[in-house]
Every structure is written in C-alpha cells, then in structure tokens.
C-alpha cells in the first residue's frame, strides 16, 4: 500500500544514513542542537570540516522526531558531504524536501529543523575558529508593532501549515489591535507560501 511518504523518504527512514551511534567517537569541528522534545522534535547535527578547502567532509546527526524528521535529516547529511561550507550554510528546507521527493504538506515543518541544526553546527564551527563575522544573524523584522510579531514568526507559521490571514491571526494575534500591518502580513504570507510550497 502507498505510504504518505515518497519512496526515497521511506527508504531513508528505513535505513537512516550517518546517524551518530551511541558510543561512536566523532570528533566534530562544529555541533548544534535545535528544537525541543516537548514540541515533538529535536535535532542534533555534528560536522567535520576540511579547513583548507572549506568543505564539509562528514556530517552525523541524532534526532528525536517522526519519520519525516528522521528521513530529512538523513538525506541532508548525505547532501552536505563534500559541499562547500558557505553553500551548506544556505541550504533550505525546500532543498531538503526536494531531495526527498517531497513531503506531505503537514509534515514540511519536520524538515525545517534539519537545516536549522546544520546552521547551528556551522555557527559553532565559525565560533571555534574565530570566524564570528561569518555568522549570519537571523535578522527578524517586526511586522506587527502592537503584538510584536516578526517576519520570521510568519514564516514559521507558514511552515507549520498556516495559509490564510485568519489562521495567522489565530496563531500569532498579529493585526488584532490596530490592524495596520494586515496588508504587509498578507504580502509576506503569500511570499512565504510561494517560497516553501510552490
């Protein structure tokens, strides 16, 4: 019977690649953890870097999460091996889901943590090697002044399934006081839907 996942996602879930084994010694050059098990997923990514060539030579991971979290981290770990660190730094959830052959829409948010954990690991690498200037801060911009909602929060909401302004408001309370930001919020909403789902 058909799974809700693609064959490739199913295959990665069945035989996850590069999972960090419990007693395995992995001398990483950078390591990052994101997420929270209370919310249902947490991810750790550890990388080895060829410092001369600035290339990721190995990537290991651990995850507390569902099948799509496991599959997307597994596929990501394969994608970034041999990849220039700058390029890996900008890998997006869409790149990962594309490589997986797609994910059901309500599962997309599970693939978001993989690239975030990878960026956290690269940040850690930069920090350890005195390259803090390369760390890109997520410059969140406040959209709704009244309720203090940022564009990053809108993007996050879209990744978790929000599609309409009404849903966005239910979730973030954006635009529920003066309402001035509704137009910009709608524009951003559509932009993020295009970015991640179209």
């Amino acid at each position: 019977m058909e799974w809700i996942y693609s064959d490739k996602a199913k295959e990665h879930f069945t035989n996850p690649r590069n999972a960090l084994k419990e007693k395995e010694r992995f001398e990483d050059d950078g390591k990052g953890t994101v997420g929270n098990i209370k919310c249902g997923d947490e991810m750790l990514v550890a990388i080895k870097v060829d410092k001369k060539k600035n290339i990721i030579t190995d990537c290991k991971w651990k995850t507390y999460g569902c099948a799509s979290a496991i599959a997307s981290t597994s596929v990501m770990s394969e994608m970034v091996k041999g990849m220039p660190i700058e390029k890996a730094y900008h890998i997006s959830p869409k790149d990962i889901t594309k490589e997986l052959g797609g994910l059901p829409e309500h599962k997309i948010h599970c693939s978001v943590l993989g690239d975030k954990a990878l960026r956290a690991a690269i940040d850690d690498y930069y920090r350890r090697n005195g390259m803090e200037e390369k760390i890109e801060k997520e410059n969140a911009k406040i959209v709704c002044q009244c309720m203090n909602v940022t564009d990053k929060e809108i993007e996050h909401a879209v990744l978790e399934g929000v599609r309409t302004l009404f849903e966005l408001q239910e979730r973030t309370k954006l635009g529920t006081v003066c309402g001035q930001c509704k137009e910009e919020a709608t524009r951003l909403l559509n932009e993020y839907i295009r970015k991640h789902f179209k």
Binding site: F13, T14, P16, A19, K21, E22, T33, I37, K38, C39, G40, D41, E42, M43, L44, K62, T63, Y64, G65, C66, A67, S68, A69, I70, H106, K107, H109, C110, E160
Partner: protein, 395 residues
C-alpha cells in the same frame, strides 16, 4: 513472502465478524425502503426492527429507546446539540439550564461540538481527570453545585487509555442535581457489560464498527420520556428522531454484530485480559524507561497504552508497521496536528511522554502468537528509535 499482519488497532476499528459478513451478504437484495407499505418495504422494516430489538436487549433498553444514526459521532453531536434549541421548548434548556459539563478526555466529536455550543451561548464546563484518567466524584459534585447544568456528558471507556469511569455513581450524582446524563459508550459496549437501567443513563451512544460490525452505522439510546430534538430533519424515519432513509444493510450488520458479542464477549475479554498482562510484563522486562498509561484495574482488557521515554511515537508506529504490526500513537506527528494526545496530557504526563506513546488495542482475532511476536519486535524497534534519539541515553 508476505508476512501475516498483526492488527492491534481495534479501538480505531475492527474487522467484520464472519457472521456479520454472512448476514449482510444474505441481505443484499433486501432493498426496499423501510418506510414503504408494500412487501419490499415491510421486509426491510422487519430486518431493521429485529436489529433494533436485539441491540436494545443487549444494553437493557426497550426497542423504542434506540435510534439509529450514521455513526457514533453523529449520535454524540445530536445529543449535545439539543441544548442550543433557540425555541428552548423541547429540552431542559427551558428551565434556564444553559450549561453543559463534560471531561477533558472525551472524543473530539464531543469536545468540538461542545466548543461550538460555547460560541452559541452555552456554558461548557470541563472536568479534569487524575493520573489514571478517572474523574473525581468530589469535582463532579462541586461543579454541579454552582452552575445551571442541563446535561453532563462523560464517556464510559476511553478510546486511548481504556480507563473506565464509575458511570453508575456519576449518574446518581448528576440526577441528584436534576441534570440529564449522557455517556459515550462507543468503546465500552460489547467489551464490558452495559445496562442502561443499571447505569442510570438518559442518553447513551454506541457504534457498530468498534464491535466487528460495518462502518457508517451508530445508535443512540434515549430514555423514554426524556425530551429530544433531532439534528437531522426532514423525514419521519426513526420516529422523527433522525431523518434519512435507513441504512438497512448497515443496521442488519449492527444487529448481527451485537448478537455475536452477546455470545463471545465474556470469554474473549478474559482471554484478552491475560494477553494484556503478558504484554505488560514482557514490555517491563525487555524495555527500560517505560510508562503505562491508564487505570491499572478499571480499564478495557483489550487496551494497553504505553510511553517509551526518548522515542517518538510516529517513528515507532511506522517501524512496527514495516514488521507487520499495526498500532496507533498519541504522538502529534501522526495525527497531523502539532499537539500530542489531549487525553494523555489531561492525565498529567509530560508532553514528551505523550509524543512517545503507543496504543495497542487487541480484539477477537488476536492470538498468543501475536503477543509473542510483538514482544520480539517491539524491543528492537524501540532500541532503533532510541539509538537515533537526542533524548535518550542508554544506562
């Protein structure tokens, strides 16, 4: 070679009983409209009334107290929705009783209907549960003291953790305060003895597909003399209580399913209780850091809910599925929502333990060999999931 499937998700739905299948097959030509006066109509009517009588007798009711619906969910929606009748003439609402009491562990068809009633001006009060999933009688008394409660709706057996409430005691307290009492007994009927008179219910919901009958047919018991208002209007069927031409084949199947339950229930529940003990012991012996959810004694013999620390439920479910085992989970990821099981959270366990829970619900097809197989596969699956987990370190 294709492995035999081990189906352990009977609380979701059950396979059709072979006798039910036969009964439906025999009836395929029984096509008449049960409301018609001619022979074809009368034949269909007779089959429906036979099923009604058998179902009524199974739960200690009279046939005229049973109304067929399209599902248990529809029955629950109907019963709760009566309390917003704007005419306020056909229900207890007339006495100014504009509040409903229910629990935090009900099926979504109760919780979402209740939420909708709130928007329509009905007060809805929720009872919490203890760590085993039981409501406390003192909480019920207290909630009934202060408010104008017209209806109390409390499920008999919980679908996720199997905990059985003390319905008889609850009904007494509710009636002392002059409110009506409904119990959603979809998971209880056919698994434990249910007698509406002994329980003291004014309304009770049951469903065919949880007891080896067909999907798409449920029923509600409405005690004689209790005010009633239909949800689906526009026909005189079911004495005006549920419009729409009756699902004759479904109802015939429902009747046969109940007849079979009457025969098989007692022995089967004993058998499943033993399996549950074996499972519980086996899991405890073979897997560390587990937590059993639900009441240790007052619980469905067929239902075992267990949390595995540091392992996520959807991953467990899918790895078990690959090995031929079907279970369900309270994890958010499997449901498509972002929140884990509201039932498990209501018992006070941590969200991460709710995410890591699975529900094993056995049934008449479950064998000792199935249980042995689960105890062989489950430890491997948990070890695999935990091996990849950020949230588990082996001791």
């Amino acid at each position: 070679m294709k492995r035999k499937r081990v189906y352990l998700d009977h609380n979701a739905t059950t396979p059709i009983h072979p006798e039910v299948k036969k009964a439906i097959e025999r009836s395929f030509d029984n096509f008449g409209n049960p409301s018609s006066l001619h022979y074809e109509g009368r034949r269909a009517r007779a089959s429906i009334e036979r099923a009604r009588a058998d179902i009524a007798s199974f739960i200690g009711a009279s046939p005229e107290e049973i109304t067929f619906t399209g599902s248990g969910s529809e029955a629950n929606n109907t019963i709760l929705s009566m309390f917003v009748c704007p005419a306020m003439s056909c229900t207890y609402h007339a006495e100014g009783r504009n509040a409903i009491v229910t629990t935090s562990i009900e099926h979504p068809c109760i919780l979402e209907t209740a939420r909708c009633l709130m928007d329509k001006g009905i007060k809805v009060l929720y009872l919490g549960v203890d760590k085993f999933g039981k409501i406390k009688m003192e909480d019920l008394r207290k909630i009934l003291e202060t408010k104008n409660v017209g209806l109390v709706s409390i499920m008999m057996a919980n679908n996720e953790i199997g905990t059985i409430q003390d319905i008889n005691q609850i009904a007494k307290i509710v009636h002392e305060k002059g409110a009506l009492f409904h119990t959603d007994a979809v998971q209880a009927v056919g698994k434990v003895p249910v007698n509406v008179r002994e329980l003291g219910a004014d309304f009770l919901t049951l469903s065919a597909h949880k007891i080896y009958g067909p999907k798409g047919v449920g029923a509600m018991y409405v005690k004689k003399g209790i005010p009633f208002c239909p949800l689906i209007r526009g026909g005189h069927q079911e004495k005006g209580r549920r419009a729409g031409t009756e699902n004759t084949l479904g109802i015939i199947g429902f009747g046969e399913a109940v007849r079979m339950r009457k025969k098989e229930m007692a022995a089967e529940e004993k058998r499943l209780a033993k399996f549950k003990e074996t499972l519980k012991k086996g899991i405890e012996e073979k897997i560390q850091d587990v937590l059993f959810n639900g009441h240790p004694a007052d619980s469905l013999a067929s239902t075992l809910n267990v949390s595995f620390r540091g392992a996520e439920g959807e991953a467990i479910l899918l790895y078990l599925d690959m090995e031929g085992i079907a279970v369900s989970t309270g994890s958010a990821c499997a449901s498509g929502s972002l929140d884990p099981s509201h039932v498990l959270l209501a018992t006070g366990i941590a969200a991460e333990e709710a995410h890591g829970s699975i529900r094993i619900s056995m049934g008449r097809g479950t064998t000792a060999g199935d249980i042995k197989y689960v105890l062989k596969i489950l430890p491997k699956v948990i070890a695999k999931v935990r091996g990849m987990s950020t949230a588990y370190t082996n001791k």
